[in-house]
């Protein structure tokens, strides 16, 4: 009890401090300050961005980015207009792509079974499963041709044609969309936050039918809410088939109910199990979503909950299921799967008979828990400021989160306008994630992306295949997560490939990097968005080739930071 009171007291103090502290946006920012702001609120400065922000002023730029709906982004829409699937419902995706591909797979299976199949020794299930694991279904997918070259002959025979290939190409549009937006959208902070929140509420495309749910998940659940209210976002995620399937809640049922023969033998089992459960095995409570809701989505692992709470939360969410996932169905509350008895969650009583409201009540409890404010504030500050974010800033952001009832725009604003954010020590302190590295390289060089498919493959090679992060933790957000020998070499190779045009479908106009009116160091400086260090400048001074200059700039240690 005392601990809670002390916590409440210190939070109250922090709130006061936040009110009294003026925003710390510099009035006459130098180039380094502006570039710092750009590197954190966007996927890196483009040529001309520095001057544009200087003209607008930092405060106004931040405010504009916090209100993406007010920023025109017509060119972005035009770029995406060629993708047919982006406006589709999951049901449409299922009917047009997923189900035909599944039927084709089955037909092959039957064909093989009749032929005895000793040639390749492959079963379609296995091929499908491998495809899911290795190919990066929705994200890194798409690029069939180049990948085939890398595949050993044993696997090459299994290349899908027809419906299976169409499915893969369709699902790769999601990844292309994400990458193109990161590079070209004017609503850059919004894109950074889409990445942040998708990753916070991570779902893995390689888990069965989840691959067709990701489009609506990102488009309808995450994207519209990244600057909205946390409870609203949490609720939308909780009802999303993508999350319900990924963390198995869709099949979580009151064990008591499941044991009654009339109940789940027939109907409750059906919503989309990949293989029918074995006879005599009742479906029961599944704690996966409940655990990750507490550990990863809200309170954090040390947020003050016990295993008992996990079970109670799981009981509250029984019956939150999906109507026929194999056909792209929607969220459904199934009272017959629901445990309608009383629950006690984090010390709060949820009375019996609440039905679907039980889950909503849990979301209310966890969304307003002090640990949640702190956990979200810490993660946001880590993303925008430093791997080990300044505690005072985390305190203020958490306080702002609480006093605004979880207003994400205001929480982010608190961070972006803080003295800690503009502290020179924060500059170039973060190592870019692979997505940030790739997008910033394209932005810095003014690259024209004809096809984003090669970039999706690059992201896979760099260790960050889009939508293919398997654990619900999402990708890490510290230097430690991204700096390793193989990935670093791949970054240099990406830089080389982008510079010499061998990535395919991506053009960089090298003329603008010709040594002439400006010298190597200043060309590199404009690409890196910071003055290259003495040794890097010395290395660059030895090269006159624009392609090499671009490669050595993008692959330099300086460019790996933001």
């Amino acid at each position: 009890m005392t601990a809670i009171r002390i916590l409440a007291l210190s939070l109250a103090c922090a709130t006061l401090a936040a009110r009294n502290r003026p925003a710390a946006i510099p009035d006459n920012p130098d180039a380094a300050t502006i570039l710092h702001l750009l590197k954190r609120t966007s996927y890196g400065p483009r040529p001309g961005d520095l001057e544009r922000v200087r003209e607008i002023g930092l405060a106004k730029y931040i405010d504009q980015q916090l209100h993406p709906e007010r920023l025109a982004d017509a060119a972005m829409s035009a770029r995406l207009s060629g993708f047919d699937t982006l406006d589709m419902s999951t049901r449409e995706l299922a009917e047009r792509y997923y189900i035909p591909a599944m039927m084709e797979r089955r037909a092959r299976q039957r064909e093989r079974a009749t032929n005895g199949e000793t040639q390749t020794g492959q079963s379609p299930d296995a091929a499908n499963q491998r495809a899911e694991r290795q190919r990066g279904v929705a994200g890194a997918g798409g690029g069939a041709p180049a990948q085939n070259q890398k595949m050993p002959s044993e696997m090459r025979r299994e290349q899908p044609t027809g419906a299976m290939r169409e499915e893969r190409e369709a699902l790769a549009e999601l990844g292309q969309q994400r990458l193109l937006r990161a590079v070209y959208s004017e609503r850059q902070l919004n894109e950074v936050l889409v990445d942040f929140w998708f990753n916070h509420f991570n779902v893995f495309a390689g888990k069965g039918v989840d691959r067709i749910y990701l489009l609506e998940y990102e488009r309808d659940v995450i994207r519209p809410r990244v600057l909205g209210n946390f409870r609203d976002l949490l609720g939308a995620v909780a009802e999303s088939p993508a999350m319900l399937f990924y963390l198995d809640n869709w099949m979580s049922a009151d064990p008591e109910v499941a044991n009654k023969p009339t109940m789940l033998r027939g109907r409750g089992r059906r919503p989309g199990s990949s293989k029918p459960p074995p006879p005599g095995r009742p479906r029961g409570l599944n704690e996966n979503y409940a655990r990750e809701l507490l550990e990863l989505h809200t309170l954090g692992v040390d947020g003050g909950y016990a295993q008992k709470d996990v079970v109670e939360v799981a009981r509250a969410f029984t019956g939150w299921t999906i109507e026929n996932p194999r056909r792209g169905g929607s969220f459904r509350f199934e009272p017959r799967m629901h445990d309608d008895r009383e629950k006690i969650v984090l010390g709060q009583r949820i009375a019996a008979g609440g039905g679907k409201k039980d889950g909503q009540r849990v979301l209310d409890i966890v969304a307003t828990h002090p640990s949640t404010a702190r956990f979200i504030a810490t993660k946001l500050a880590r993303r925008f400021v430093a791997d080990d974010p300044p505690p005072a800033l985390v305190d203020r952001a958490a306080a702002r989160f609480r006093e605004t009832g979880g207003d994400l725009r205001e929480t982010v604003r608190t961070i972006l306008t803080s003295a800690e954010f503009f502290d020179p020590a924060a500059r170039n302190a973060k190592v870019k994630s692979p997505l940030e590295f790739v997008a910033s390289a394209l932005r810095a060089t003014g690259a024209e992306v004809g096809s984003a498919l090669p970039l999706l493959r690059s992201l896979r090679d760099l260790g960050m295949p889009l939508y293919m992060c398997q654990p619900p933790t999402g990708y890490g957000d510290t230097a430690e997560d991204w700096v390793n020998t193989g990935a670093l070499l791949n970054r240099m190779n990406f830089a080389v490939g982008l510079a010499d045009g061998s990535l395919g479908g991506i053009r960089v106009n090298l003329d603008r990097f010709a040594v002439g009116s400006s010298n190597q160091a200043s060309i590199a400086g404009s690409i890196i968005g910071a003055q290259p260090s003495g040794p890097t400048a010395a290395t660059l001074a030895k090269t006159g080739e624009p392609a090499k200059l671009v490669a050595l700039s993008l692959g330099s240690p300086e460019f790996q930071k933001r």
Binding site: T118, L489, K548, L552, Q560
Partner: protein, 415 residues
């Protein structure tokens, strides 16, 4: 003491051509720091049918449950099981591994698996690679945690290598691990205008202000040099080893190259797929037989190729779960529970099948249908971590699991 790292940096490795390492160099390396023990983990993705791989031919229930796909009792048919101990036998396509069993270099742990009952490939592989059954949010893999548990000064960039396009879950984590598709493509791709760009990158990183980037960069270029000196394109397997032509065998061949190149390998990972035979699995011939043929010949070639270096190397095979005891309506098998793991090489007390055999009678099956699990797969992993990798305190490798040597099956000699 001269560390091998220094030794290598001073050019010793320049003389070591893969497969042609002069004996004195190997001895020198050994003297300089001792050859490290190496674990080669092999994942059979898709859930191999362990009951047809390591056949319980002494079980009447096995034959009753599998009228069309059972492997026949040894001596009763042309292509029957290869007997091991009078009760278990190898699938006939696994025969290439029989000599290893006879030489007591190969042990089997049967009826091993997860305490979690999931029959989802995705979840079960996740649980096995993180070694935290039932817990999805474990960020790193158990092999990565093994690396942390045996940090040492002589670590090289090739400490942990997956011969795969992507780092498998088991090796993901904060300890350095490499995913290499093909050894001879490792490095900076210099072409055209970018010819000669590699040394420039190297000098950039040598002078990097960021300590982690500087160190990692120098490791990366050191790794390139090490591999270049080892000259993988000239590799010739030793002792007449014949690797089958498959992606899996190719991965093993490259692991053998790395072992012999003395580049500091400690943990290697290879995977083999297409074990999910719901339809027309086959018995002595057919789909499963075809896959086992590649699997066994690949491993047999690997052990032959390594020859005496197998004294340092332990091969451990695993698969996410087993398959149902009874065949289904399509002459295949559905997802099951317990399975068999195979250990070959260093320290193995081979020629035996370990574990308590639960029996296959319907009432002895898990949930009435599957081979029950009598050895938690983490007890197998832990035995490897402690007895092979020399990890004194394995508890950080297995969070949420109390490792107890009393539960070790003893397939490895206590060193």
């Amino acid at each position: 003491m001269i560390s091998r790292r220094v030794f290598v940096k001073n050019g010793g490795l320049a003389l070591v051509s893969l497969g042609f390492a002069p004996a004195f160099l190997a001895r020198a390396a050994e003297a300089a720091g001792g050859r490290r023990r190496i674990l080669v983990a092999i994942f059979q993705r898709g859930a191999v049918d362990g009951l047809n791989m390591i056949v319980p031919h002494g079980e009447r229930a096995y034959y009753a449950a599998r009228p069309t796909i059972a492997v026949q009792r040894p001596g009763t048919a042309v292509d029957a099981a290869v007997d091991l101990d009078g009760f278990f036998g190898l699938h006939p396509r696994m025969a290439p591994l029989k000599p290893l069993f006879d030489r007591r270099e190969l042990a089997i742990v049967h009826a091993t698996g997860s305490p979690d009952s999931t029959r989802s490939h995705f979840d079960a592989q996740d649980y096995m690679e993180s070694a935290t059954p039932g817990v999805k949010s474990t960020r790193d893999g158990w092999l990565n945690r093994c690396l942390h548990a045996r940090e040492h000064q002589n670590a090289t960039p090739f400490r942990a290598v997956a011969l795969a396009p992507q780092l498998p879950r088991a090796l993901q984590g904060t300890a350095q691990a490499l995913a290499i598709g093909r050894l001879n493509q490792f490095g900076i791709r210099e072409r055209g205008a970018n010819a000669g760009v590699s040394p420039s990158f190297e000098s950039e990183y040598a002078a990097a202000a960021d300590r982690v980037l500087k160190e990692t960069g120098s490791e990366a270029f050191e790794a390139i040099r090490m591999l270049k000196n080892a000259d993988p394109s000239r590799y010739r397997p030793a002792n007449g080893a014949q690797y089958p032509r498959s992606a899996f065998a190719e991965a093993l061949r490259q692991i053998a190259q790395l072992v012999k190149a003395d580049v500091g390998l400690e943990v290697a990972f290879a995977e083999t797929g297409n074990w999910d035979h719901h339809v027309n699995e086959g018995a002595s011939t057919g789909q499963l037989a075809f896959r086992l043929d590649d699997f066994a010949r690949g491993i047999a070639a690997f052990t032959a190729d390594l020859g005496e270096r197998m004294a340092d190397v332990l091969v451990l095979t695993m698969s996410e779960f087993g398959r149902a005891v009874a065949e289904n309506g399509n002459r295949g098998t559905d997802h099951g529970h317990g399975n068999a793991m195979i250990a070959i090489g260093a320290g193995v007390r081979g020629g035996r099948i370990y574990g308590d055999w639960p029996g296959l009678d319907p009432q002895k099956r898990f949930e009435g249908r599957d081979l029950a699990v009598t050895t938690d797969f983490r007890d197998v992993f832990a035995e490897v971590a402690v007895r092979h990798l020399g990890i004194a305190d394995p508890s950080p490798v297995f969070p949420g699991f109390r490792v107890s040597q009393t539960r070790f099956r003893g397939f490895l000699a206590a060193s």
